[in-house]
């Protein structure tokens, strides 16, 4: 029986990173405040003491530099895990991501791959000012050459992070900071993998399939429970957004015939559209209603007084589910 610990999601990040660094000397962490300070969310706490300043590197405040350096390190043979302190700060480094991080394999015709994991806390719900609540996973899913992974539980976090670090290709690893400490789960002490590209059916049901990820998984499950006596809801946590586990999604949809997607990212261009397109491509004849998109709005993320209106909560999700059923 493996030893486990009751960890929060951010503790699982730390644990996964630590185990990866212990197992492989090439794994290197870099970012702002991650070394001596242990990370503003304590995601890298203790790593500096354990692995030293050569492997746990405090960087200047320069996102482009952080990501660019990591690209170079990865091309060189290291396995860097750069951290961008808030996903909203990735924009200054966007060029490095889309012009280089995603293209090195194709540019070098496969000679160089970039085994790097770009970590960033993402998403709203923490009463923060501008730029601290972004949920723009769609930008990175749209960029070929990148994998995009978003865990929603401590167990998945450690397993997905370790899988991502072991990937020969670059992964954007977005951590739902709203639930960094919201609950604990038993996480094995030893390293283990949760496979990338696989969705997880969190709740089985037969009336409607809801696809979601990250911090939205919990309110979706809550909404499913709340409507359980009217609607039998199936909840699928995608976990990896790119490549998306189309088979699981389609299989679920073929069973229920109705679907909803819940994401906090804005409506237009959000991945809900992608999912809806996939469903109608592969399972049109099973469709009984339009795919309901329950998402953030097409506005910049509001300041915290309105945050709770912007983020889909159990009430709004339940309403969306009823809409789908009543078509």
């Amino acid at each position: 029986m493996t030893e486990t610990q009751n960890l929060t999601l951010v503790q699982a990040v730390r644990d996964g990173l630590r185990d990866a660094m212990a197992a492989d000397d090439d794994v290197v962490a870099l970012g702002e405040d991650i070394g001596k300070n242990g990370g503003v969310f304590r995601a890298t706490q203790g790593l500096h003491e354990e692995f030293g300043e050569e492997r746990v590197i405090d960087t200047p405040l320069a996102e482009s530099g952080i990501i660019g350096t990591a690209v170079g390190m990865a091309a060189y043979g290291l396995k860097p895990v750069p951290e961008i302190q808030f996903s909203g700060f990735m924009y200054p480094g966007f060029d490095q991501i889309v012009s280089h991080m995603s293209r090195m394999r194709t540019r070098s015709r496969g000679r160089y791959t970039l085994p790097m994991v770009l970590r960033a806390p993402y998403g709203g719900g923490i009463r923060a000012p501008e730029h601290h609540s972004e949920s723009k996973e769609a930008f990175y899913a749209h960029e070929a050459g990148l994998k995009v992974v978003i865990p929603s539980t401590p167990y998945d976090t450690k397993g997905l992070l370790i899988s991502a670090i072991r990937e020969p290709d670059p992964v954007v690893f977005l951590e739902p900071k709203k639930i960094y400490r919201a609950f604990r789960e038993e996480v094995p002490d030893e390293p283990y993998e949760v496979p990338l590209g696989e969705a997880s059916v969190r709740r089985e049901g037969s009336d409607v399939s809801v696809f979601t990820w990250g911090a939205m998984t919990r309110p979706t499950l809550e909404a499913a429970e709340n409507v359980a006596d009217e609607i039998d809801v199936e909840v699928v946590d995608l976990r990896t957004l790119s490549p998306m586990d189309e088979d699981t999604i389609v299989e679920s949809f073929k069973k229920t015939g109705r679907a909803a997607v819940v994401h906090e990212a804005p409506f237009t261009g959000g991945l809900a559209g992608e999912i809806a397109a996939t469903l109608q491509e592969r399972a049109l004849l099973h469709q009984e209603a339009p795919v309901e998109r329950i998402t953030g709005f097409d506005t910049p993320f509001p300041l915290y007084a309105l945050e709770d209106y912007y983020l889909p909560g159990p009430a709004r999700i339940a309403e969306g589910l009823r809409n789908v059923m009543e078509f």
Binding site: L284, L285, H286, Q287, E288
Partner: protein, 516 residues
């Protein structure tokens, strides 16, 4: 301690009683066995005695109220017990059990002090003497310690006492008496059969298969899933009767597709079954098994329900119909000229309608739920037809308002539709009285089964020459044997006979039909 008294079952399957008179008032003290009320049941007036010594706390009904057996009619305050806030329902029985326990404990000890102490253990000062483990057990089992009598020394409550109290509480709860006459769900059954029939596309009346009419549209709107279902079931969406109009066209729901498919399916199955039933050429087999499904089964269910619900009585008689035969002969060529075929049936329909107008109870339905006989003022005469698919009963609606030619034409049309299975469900619904002409095949008398939920059915034997006694001589006359089955819950034999006589009058004197 308050104790409830429920109206007891006075036997003979009585379900309720009327409080004729109260013999006590609130506040009176009563002794055990003292009569407290006079209650009238279906059969008699009885006195109801008090089960306790105590005082009357509350009378729950007024004189004249009709009370179901098992309702609480009086609450007593039973002597010698404090009004403890003990648990949800102050049911007398656990307390008496506890008393009995304490009493027996006292007997064992033969020590009056202990008996007193037994009650002291639970009530005197409000303290309970029970170890913590017993207290916890009481909480877990939902037992109120104040109502438990302790068997331990000085009345201390043990775990065993708590467990015993937990079981007692369960047993002593008396369930609502089952003597209430359960209105056998005849109505429900009828409804079920009707709805089941409509779901499976079968008619309510007659239990016959009814493949819905193909719609034959050019374009149909349907959800993608519905299209797939239609494809899988081999149904042409354009044929499925539309559920509704959506946007700019006919919309078909998945349910509609399935319903349509099932009705087609059932019809085919019925065919197959009929064919297979006729096939006895299996060599080497002593038995053959034919699936009991589809139409056959539906008919079977209908027949069973009707026969087992309504007490059937069949009244036989014979109408001497020379006159009628003559009339028909006379009119046959005229009919042919007009392009329709004239049989006896339209005349018989008219005669029956005349009879029903004079004897409305044969044109009725028994509403058991509401305990009412529904006399119908419209006359929809069902004509039982034997088809390849089985028995079907198309209905001639408002036969009283139609002329004989109209009836003849309609009948011919319906029968044809029934035979080629293009008849609609509506055309087989709403009948108030049924005619079954088995005589067309042969036979004299029968005991037809009523077409539930109607209350009467007239069976017609073969119209033939038979010997009739007239004026002391036996002569050959055209006779029509009549077999009238009635639901004896609604119609007495005498009424049935009268109706039969009336119908016969019209059949034997067809000119009377001109007056109808």
């Amino acid at each position: 301690m308050p104790a409830e008294f429920k109206l007891p079952d006075v036997g003979e399957g009585v379900a309720e009683g009327e409080i004729v008179a109260w013999l006590v008032s609130e506040g009176n003290s009563v002794e055990e066995d003292q009569p407290v009320a006079e209650v009238e049941t279906d059969k008699a007036v009885v006195e109801v005695p008090s089960p306790y010594n105590g005082t009357v706390k509350q009378l729950h009904y007024e004189e004249g109220d009709v009370v179901p057996v098992g309702s609480v009619i009086v609450t007593f305050n039973v002597e010698g017990k404090d009004d403890l806030d003990a648990g949800p329902e102050p049911d007398e029985t656990p307390a008496t059990d506890a008393e009995a326990e304490a009493a027996s404990a006292a007997d064992e000890d033969a020590d009056t002090e202990t008996a007193e102490a037994a009650s002291a253990a639970t009530s005197d000062s409000g303290r309970t003497f029970a170890p913590p483990s017993a207290r916890r057990l009481a909480r877990e089992l939902g037992v109120d310690l104040a109502s438990v009598s302790g068997s331990g020394p000085s009345g201390r409550i043990t775990e065993g006492d708590v467990r015993a109290a937990a079981e007692d509480g369960g047993e002593s709860d008396s369930d609502a008496p089952k003597s209430a006459v359960s209105k056998v769900t005849d109505e429900g059954g009828a409804d079920e059969t009707e709805s089941a029939a409509s779901e499976s596309g079968d008619a309510a009346a007659g239990g016959s298969v009814e493949p819905a009419e193909a719609a034959g549209r050019e374009k149909t709107l349907a959800a993608p899933a519905t299209r797939r279902v239609a494809e899988e079931l081999g149904v042409d969406l354009d044929d499925v009767p539309a559920s509704e109009e959506r946007e700019d066209g006919a919309f078909v729901s998945e349910a509609a597709v399935r319903e349509y498919a099932e009705s087609q399916q059932a019809a085919q199955e019925a065919d197959a079954a009929a064919v297979q039933a006729g096939d006895t050429s299996k060599s080497g087999e002593r038995e053959e098994r034919v699936p009991y499904r589809g139409v056959r089964r539906t008919i079977g269910k209908q027949m069973a329900e009707s026969k087992y619900t309504a007490p059937h009585v069949t009244h036989h008689d014979t109408a001497v119909v020379d006159a009628l035969a003559d009339v028909r002969e006379e009119l046959k060529p005229v009919a042919e000229e007009r392009g329709f075929r004239l049989t006896y049936m339209p005349f018989i329909v008219k005669a029956v309608v005349a009879g029903l107008k004079q004897h409305p109870y044969l044109n009725s339905q028994l509403d058991e739920e509401n305990e009412e006989i529904v006399l119908k003022n419209y006359y929809n005469i069902g004509i039982a037809v034997a088809t390849d698919a089985g028995l079907m009963v198309p209905v001639i609606k408002n036969a009283d308002q139609k002329s004989i030619p109209e009836i003849a034409e309609e009948m011919r049309g319906l029968i044809e539709k029934a035979r080629d299975r293009s008849i609609s469900r509506e055309e087989m619904q709403g009948g108030t009285f049924t005619l079954t002409n088995f005589g067309a095949i042969g036979g004299e008398y029968a005991t037809p089964i009523i077409n539930y939920p109607e209350t009467a059915i007239l069976g017609l034997g073969a119209l033939d020459e038979r010997p009739v006694a007239e004026d002391g001589e036996v002569v050959a006359k055209e006779t029509l044997p009549l077999s009238l089955s009635i639901d004896h819950r609604v119609i007495d034999g005498a009424v049935a006979a009268e109706f039969a006589n009336t119908v016969q009058d019209y059949l034997e004197n067809p000119s009377m039909l001109l007056l109808e």
